[in-house]
Amino acid sequence: MTRRTAFKLALAGAAATMARPAAAAVPLGAPADAVGLLYDTTKCIGCKACMVACREANGLAPDTGQSGGLHLMPVDLNEKTKTVIKLYRDGDKSSFVKAQCMHCVDPACASACMLGAFKKREFGIVTYDVNFCIGCRYCEVACPYGVPKFEWSKAAPKMVKCELCNHRLAVGKQPACTEVCPRQAVIFGRREDLLREARARLVASPDKYVQKIYGETDGGGTQCLYISHVPFDKIGLPALATDSTPSLQRTIQHSIYKGFAAPVALYGLLGVVMLRNRRSAGDAS
C-alpha cells in the first residue's frame, strides 16, 4: 500500500466518522423498513372514525373540548388526543385535515430529548418511554408541527403523541385509524410504497391535487405523508426547508464541541494558564 492510498483511506475513515446524515437534503436517513401513513384530503369525509378508533386503541380519556361536556370534541391534539380531524374552510373551498405525529425522518423531539425518552425505533416510528422522561418539554419546543403534548392537568404528567399504534403493529394489526377509515383516506404502509402511491395519484389527477407530496423532503422528510387539493399551509402544514429542523443546532453544537475533545482541551489550557499565573504570583511574593 502506498502512502498516498493509506492517506486517502484515512481521510475516508475520518469523513465517515464525522459525517452527519441529517444535514443531507435528500432523505437518505429514512430507514429501509420505514413505515408511515398517507393521508389524502380529497378522500377524507370528516367522519372522525379515526379519532374514535385512536382513542379506543390507545386507552385515552374522552375529551369533550368545547362541547360543554357533551361530545368528543377536541379542538387540537392535546394530552387526551393523539389524532384530530380539523376543517379548513375558505368560502366554498374546504378540506378536512388529519393531524397526528409526522414520524419525521430526523425528528426534532428525539434530537432534543436528554435521555432518549422520545426515540426513533423500529420501522422508524418515534416512540415514547416514560421511564426516561423528566417532563422538561424541550420536545414540545422543538417539534415544528407542535405534536408532542404535555399532560398539564396531571400532577404526574407524561408526554402524549401518536406512536403509530406500534402496540398493534406488534400483533400484526394496522394502526387503528387506517383500519377503521371507511374511505381509505388515510392508509398505512411502507414509506416507499406510500410515496409511489402518492406519486401515482398526483400524476393520474394533476388538476385535482396540489402537485407535491408533503413530507417527501419537508423538514428532512416525514413518514406520514400528505397529498391535498388545497395548499398545504392552509391545512396547518408549514413550509419547511429540506434540512431537518434539528440539523442546524446539531451541526453547530458538534462543530464547537467535537465530542468531548474541545471541552477537555479547553480545561487543560485553563489549568496550564492558572498554574503559570500561580507560579508567577508565587515568584513575585
Binding site: G46, V52, G65, K86, R89, R183, K234
Partner: protein, 363 residues
C-alpha cells in the same frame, strides 16, 4: 256504508302518514264528503306489480278504504274483474269522461326499442297507450323506479330500450316516485293532495316530491350514530353486524340515495327495509346507483357543505390573565423604581467626593 267517524279516522291516518297538517286533513274530509272522488287510471307496462302489491298492504288507510271512499279507481289491470274488450272500453270511456281531471298513474317501464314492440296491450304499444292516456290526464304520477327512470328492465344491456315516463312525456310535469318498490304512503300522500287540494307537492328536478326524496338515506338513517362513531360491520355475521353497526363498509348506498325508507315504514312493519334487516341499502330509487353500482361496492360520500362542528385548523388557545399583567406591571414598576431611587440615593451619598481618581487609588 262507513260511519263518518271511521271516515275521518281514515283520512286522518292517510294525512298523518304523509305529514299533512290537520287543516289539510279536514279539507280532505270535506272534499271526500262532498263525494268528489277523483278518477284514477292506473297503467301497467314493464313491471313486476310490486308497487301495486305494496299498495294493497297499506292499512292507514287500507286499500279497501282508498278504493271505496277516497278515490274512484276506474282502471287497474290487476284489481279489475274485467278484461279484454270490456277493460279497453272502460279505459276509453273514463279518459274521455274525466279528461283534464283524472290522475294517470303509471307502473312499469316503457320499452322504446324497435318501435316499442316489447310491450303491447290490446295491440297498442306502451308508448302509444301512455301518450294517449297522459295527454288527457290532469296529473301524471310515475310510481316505482321502473316508471320513474326505467328500473330493472333498463339494466345493462337494456335490450328493450326500457325507459321512464318523464323521458317519454317530455315537457309534461310528471311526479316520479322511484323505489323498488316505491313506498305506497308516498303515493297516497301525493294522490290525496291532488284529489283534495288540486295541487301537487313541491318536486325536485327529477320530479320527486321533496317531502319524501329531499334527503339521502345517510342523512336520516337510524344507524347514523354508528357511522359517526366509526362503528362498522366489516363482514356479514361478524360482531359489528350482530350489534347493528353501520353497513357502509358492506356497500351501503345510503349516502347516494334519496328516499325516506328510514323514516316511513313499509308495510306497517318497522325495519321492513334493507338496512332494517341488516343488508346495506342498494339505492333502488336512484338511476345512477340501482342495478348499476355493484351491491357491495362502497360509494363516495358527498358533503357539499361541511357542518361547523369541526375544529378549525388553528383554534385560539391560552389566555393572558389581566390580573397577572397587573401583578407583573407592579413588580416591574417596583423594581425599576427602587433601582432608580437607590441609584439616586447612592449618588447623594457619594456627592461629597466627585474628584477624579488619583494615583493614590484612594477616595
Amino acid at each position: 256504508m262507513v260511519s263518518r267517524r271511521d271516515f275521518v279516522r281514515v283520512c286522518t291516518m292517510a294525512g298523518a302518514a304523509v305529514g299533512m297538517s290537520t287543516t289539510t286533513v279536514s279539507q280532505i274530509v270535506e272534499a271526500a264528503a262532498r263525494g268528489l272522488k277523483p278518477s284514477v287510471v292506473w297503467l301497467h307496462f314493464q313491471e313486476c306489480t310490486g308497487c301495486t302489491e305494496s299498495l294493497l298492504r297499506t292499512s292507514h288507510p287500507g286499500i279497501a278504504e282508498v278504493i271505496l271512499d277516497l278515490i274512484s279507481l276506474d282502471y287497474h289491470e290487476t284489481l279489475f274483474a274485467a278484461s279484454g274488450h270490456q277493460a279497453e272500453a272502460v279505459l276509453q270511456d273514463t279518459i274521455k269522461k274525466n279528461a283534464g281531471k283524472f290522475i294517470c298513474v303509471v307502473e312499469g317501464a316503457i320499452p322504446t326499442k324497435d318501435g316499442g314492440i316489447y310491450c303491447q296491450i290490446g295491440g297498442r304499444t306502451a308508448v302509444d297507450i301512455l301518450n294517449d292516456v297522459a295527454s288527457k290526464a290532469g296529473a301524471v304520477i310515475a310510481i316505482g323506479s321502473c316508471a320513474s327512470w326505467g328500473g330493472i328492465p333498463s339494466a345493462d344491456p337494456n335490450p328493450t330500450g326500457a325507459t321512464g315516463v318523464p323521458m317519454i312525456l317530455k315537457g309534461k310535469p310528471v311526479v316520479t316516485l322511484p323505489g323498488c318498490p316505491s313506498n305506497p304512503y308516498n303515493f297516497l300522500g301525493v294522490a290525496l293532495q291532488y284529489a283534495t287540494l288540486g295541487t301537487l307537492p313541491k318536486l325536485d328536478e327529477l320530479g320527486r316530491p321533496l317531502f319524501a326524496y329531499g334527503r339521502t338515506i345517510h342523512e336520516h338513517c337510524p344507524r347514523r350514530a354508528h357511522f359517526d362513531a366509526g362503528r362498522f360491520a366489516n363482514t356479514f355475521g361478524d360482531e359489528g353486524h350482530r350489534q347493528g353497526y353501520c353497513l357502509y363498509k358492506l356497500g351501503c348506498k345510503g349516502p347516494m340515495t334519496h328516499a325516506n325508507c328510514s323514516t316511513l315504514a313499509f308495510g306497517e312493519v318497522v325495519d321492513c327495509w334493507p338496512i332494517g334487516i341488516g343488508h346495506p341499502c342498494v339505492g333502488c330509487t336512484e338511476q345512477k346507483v340501482a342495478f348499476r353500482i355493484a351491491m357491495h361496492d362502497t360509494v363516495p360520500i358527498d358533503r357539499p357543505v361541511p357542518p361547523d362542528t369541526y375544529a378549525p385548523v388553528h383554534t385560539e388557545q391560552g389566555r393572558i390573565s389581566p390580573a397577572a399583567t397587573a401583578v407583573a406591571g407592579v413588580i416591574g414598576g417596583v423594581l425599576l423604581g427602587a433601582g432608580y431611587v437607590a441609584s439616586r440615593k447612592i449618588g447623594e451619598a457619594d456627592e461629597v467626593k466627585v474628584t477624579p481618581l488619583d494615583n493614590t487609588g484612594g477616595v
